[in-house]
């Protein structure tokens, strides 16, 4: 491959940022100084391209340090990894959090998604426009953008500030006031409120040291097969940006915290999420010991017997997925934890990762053991800096105690985990898009078949599970599959997390056994029995659907929801009262899908645009209602039938339910496809 590079020269900061991820260059062939000896050999080809998966970490390194990715920096990354610049540009421009044009170091993301829109993000945006300028512009110190769901719906409206630097800093404001977002820009590091994490474990260098310098891990001294090792234990500075009030602890999002009856949320607010000792004192790593004692096939049998199905939205049986992967003859096999929780209204995985990070690591280790994988990847969305820090800390500490690495607990099982950070793309939560994103390609979904169990990450058999799904594996190991299956209902077994937000007194993550009704859940969230029925509840997120306030007796099980023509999806329960403009919410949902479509297939790429346009006309009363409703139905049907992946296939669900169940745009006479033509 004879690649063509620019002649732009990166500055020292950019070079250092890239080298901190990739290590120093070895020769003139990979971006180092050209020496006479370089003329006597040629380097490139498969070995060099084999590090393509470090493209995303390298882009992050520059964006984190400088605030944007200059042509020279991109060019240097391409030389280091033997990636064609046009392809790397395509990858960098795919993600919303990367900038390819110079911008201020501080970027404020103001969430305008459904839950925040219902809680007044409009006025926040108006205030930002007044003080700083329209979105995308800055006053030199900071720039702000409207953002899709930041996953802090329980304390909407939310905003996230990120400041480039070494290390980068962040701050979360939720509920946010305009003043929180503009103060303190450009202030030196260390002047802000201490990060809550910093109090309990200030960097902990001793425990966080590499597991063993001489390669007692599966990949000597590294976290990754290709030599990737972050410089620091945590990416972000433990000192948060000054301005907003300190972020409340994760338990603040769990109104039931401390309830002894909890299974998945049992440790949240009880253990120190930074302390491995505390985790072990509260039952941590007992599940891994149990799994190692019973052997991989018995682990899979227990998971199969438990009836556990995926909690990410698709509800596929986890045991079958693991069995399919473990049975494949090809090696290596991989396990991937999907922590790219980006569904508007969903924040349960964030709470699990922030409040009980070791549990996620332990469960992924068990998944690796059961599937015969030596390497696991945890793909976390870029909008979750605190969850990222907690997981990075947990992995470093687990390595330090031989709970990751070679010969875990003397069992002969080798396993390590690498965290990969997304950069602002909802589509990367699609299971095959995650693989492309990790591999350093654009986060476009792949056609299925082949399914991940056959050909997943790096073309190898891969078991990919959502965070909440993995969290269920721990109690299954401890209580056994059949006992777990006794919780819940016949086909929907176990406990289930729901993210309740919107017009309820006590929003947050709730754990209930499958089978509770929507009304019971809302009562837990403080909606009294004598409270007026809400106008509508969005169930399952933007890819789910609305139900009316008089349909609260829907049982929260997969089959119950399906019978009622709804879906549990990712566990979103967003309550909307009469104060909300439903038309505007639908336009926001349409705008979300338009922004987040990867653009690969026509039904989704253009269909989401046409859907938004028709909803704009309907909500503003321009255009012809009957025609626009017919257009929506026709476009929606084609998106559902002919899109490549779930994003396009579900982009019409919520809008359709709002038209059919809520009658948002008045009664509709359901023209059939023939009539509409």
């Amino acid at each position: 491959m004879d690649l063509h590079f620019l002649d732009a020269v990166p500055d020292d900061t950019e070079r250092e940022a890239v080298d901190s991820v990739l290590g120093p260059p070895e020769s003139g062939w990979d971006g180092g100084l050209r020496q006479a000896s370089d003329l006597r050999f040629a380097e490139g080809g498969h070995a060099a391209r084999g590090r393509r998966d470090l493209l995303l970490p390298a882009l992050h390194a520059v964006n984190d340090r400088v605030g944007w990715i200059s042509p020279a920096a991109l060019d240097y990354i391409c030389r280091r990894l033997t990636v064609p610049p046009a392809e790397a540009y395509g990858v960098a421009s795919f993600y919303a959090m990367f900038a390819l044009k110079e911008r201020p170091r501080r970027v404020v993301h103001v969430c305008t998604d459904i839950a925040c829109a219902a809680r007044g993000s409009d006025s926040l945006c108006a205030a930002m426009t007044e003080r700083v300028g329209p979105p995308g512009t800055g006053d030199g110190d900071l720039v702000w953008h409207e953002s899709p769901c930041l996953g802090m719906c329980e304390r909407a409206p939310a905003a996230l500030s990120l400041e480039a630097g070494d290390p980068p800093r962040y701050a979360v404001a939720a509920p946010a006031r305009p003043g929180d977002l503009v103060t303190g820009a450009g202030s030196p590091p260390g002047t802000g409120a201490p990060h809550p994490a910093a109090e309990s474990a200030p960097a902990a260098p001793a425990e966080a040291a590499p597991a063993s310098p001489n390669g007692s891990g599966p990949h000597p001294g590294t976290g990754s097969p290709n030599g990737h090792r972050p410089r620091r234990t945590t990416t972000f500075s433990p000192d948060t940006l000054p301005g907003p009030a300190p972020e409340p602890p994760p338990a603040a999002a769990v109104p039931q915290a401390g309830d002894p009856g909890l299974v998945l949320l049992r440790r949240i607010g009880v253990v120190d999420p930074e302390s491995l000792d505390d985790y072990r004192a509260n039952g941590g790593y007992a599940a891994l010991r149990a799994a190692l004692a019973m052997g991989p096939s018995a682990v899979i049998r227990e998971v199969t017997d438990s009836g556990l199905v995926g909690r990410g939205g698709a509800a596929f049986p986890t045991g079958r997925k693991w069995e399919g992967t473990a049975r494949r003859p090809e090696t290596p096999r991989y396990v991937v934890c999907n922590a790219d929780e980006s569904e508007p209204g969903t924040f349960k995985d964030r709470v699990l990762m922030e409040g009980d990070p070791f549990a996620v690591i332990e469960a992924l280790t068990i998944a690796g053991y059961a599937n015969g994988a030596a390497q696991g990847y945890l793909y976390i969305r870029g909008e979750y800096p605190r969850a990222l820090s907690r997981l990075e800390n947990a992995i470093a500490k687990a390595r330090g105690r031989n709970l990751l690495g070679r010969d875990i607990l003397g069992s002969g099982f080798d396993f390590d985990i690498e965290i990969r950070r997304g950069a602002g793309a909802y589509i990367c939560g699609e299971e095959t898009a995650i693989f492309n994103s990790i591999e350093g390609l654009r986060g476009e979904p792949r056609s299925k078949p082949p399914f991940p169990v056959e050909r997943g990450l790096f073309g190898r058999p891969t078991a990919i599970n959502n965070v909440e799904t993995l969290a269920n594996v721990l109690p299954i190991m401890l209580m056994g599959g059949p006992a777990y299956a006794a919780i819940g209902t016949g086909r929907s077994t176990g406990p289930k997390l729901f993210c309740v937000s919107g017009a309820v007194p006590r929003p947050g993550v709730f754990e209930v056994p499958f089978g509770a009704t929507l009304r019971e859940l809302l009562e837990l969230a403080g909606l009294g029995a004598d409270a007026p029925a809400p106008r509508a509840v969005l169930l399952g997120g933007a890819a789910g659907g609305f139900v009316r306030g008089d349909e609260l007796d829907i049982p929260l099980t997969f089959e119950g929801a399906r019978e009622a023509g709804a879906t549990l999806g990712s566990g979103v329960v967003l309550v909307l009262d009469d104060s909300v403009d439903l038309g505007a919410i639908l336009v926001r949902i349409a705008a979300f899908f338009r922004d987040e479509s990867c653009g690969q297939c026509v039904p989704c790429r253009v269909g989401t645009v046409r859907q938004e346009e028709a909803l704009l006309r309907l909500s503003r009363g321009t255009g012809t209602r009957r025609t626009d409703l017919a257009l929506l139905r026709e476009v929606g049907q084609a998106m559902r039938d002919a899109s490549i992946c779930g994003l396009g296939q579900t982009a019409w669900n919520a809008v359709e339910s709002a038209i059919d169940r809520l009658g948002v745009f008045g009664p509709d006479d359901h023209p059939t496809l023939k009539e509409a033509r």
């Binding site: 046009a86 899709p148 653009g599 790429r605």
Partner: protein, 313 residues
Amino acid sequence: MSTPVTLSPPRRLVDVTVDGREVRVPEGATILEACEALGTEVPTLCYGDTLTPRNACRVCVVEVEGARTLVPACSRKVEESMAVKTDSERVRHSRKMVLELLGSSVDLSTTPNVPEWMDRYEARPERFGPRAEPAPLGERDARHAGEHEPGDGAVAATVEQPAKVDNDLYVRDYGKCIMCYKCVDACGEQWQNTFAIGIAGRGFDARVSTEHDLALPDSACVYCGNCIEVCPTGALSFRTEYEMRAEGTWDEDRQTRTTTVCTYCGVGCNVTLHVQDNEIVKVTSPHDNPVTHGNLCIKGRFGFQHVQHRRQD
């Protein structure tokens, strides 16, 4: 001397049904191939006979019994006893919508077969309202992922923008681009290994682009023109063709095609000369040729002016 024939191991045959008619095709064949074996016509846009299917356009979708969604015929492999419907109500509806969505957002005026398909599936792209003004040159290339101007729904957004004319050999008219990915694949690892272009941005703002939207002469482009060869819509075209179309002198009915051997080197590539009024107007290469598979280099593709260089005295 005859062309060497590669022998592949014998393949099992599988029985499938297409619109109720049974057909036996080799294992590993696609639904499209099964349809072709029966003479059932399936429209395709992004499918390329020399490239791995990307199944991005979705105009070839068919209904497979038991499948939740429609499947792309061009890339889905047949399975034993698969029952396929190529003309059901669902299939016709999706094809119609894909044509309408494309027709309303892209300039399809130079895409072959589209008028006939629009007619067959009763597609009316104008239903989505008047077309938005074309974007100024370079504006679409500067869009940031995950953001867009909301608008008011009065006009239908399009990808139209002025053509990029930055070299003497060929023109990129991305207002005609349906994002089939074929040029990217042909430029990249499937044929040319030059990697001058990639897909940038995402969603409706996704576009074929060089790095940082550089002009072609500053990019890695080697002007092989293999991207023009595979472009299904005329978004990529010879400078000659582009200018003749602008003048209104392009007339395919008056053109002859002559396939001959390229004289520049000894490889023996076949070139097809398209001649109008005794002038070579463009050069293609037969896709079924075992030497080129439709690919050429800059000389074979563009080095034809000397042939028609006549003394002006």
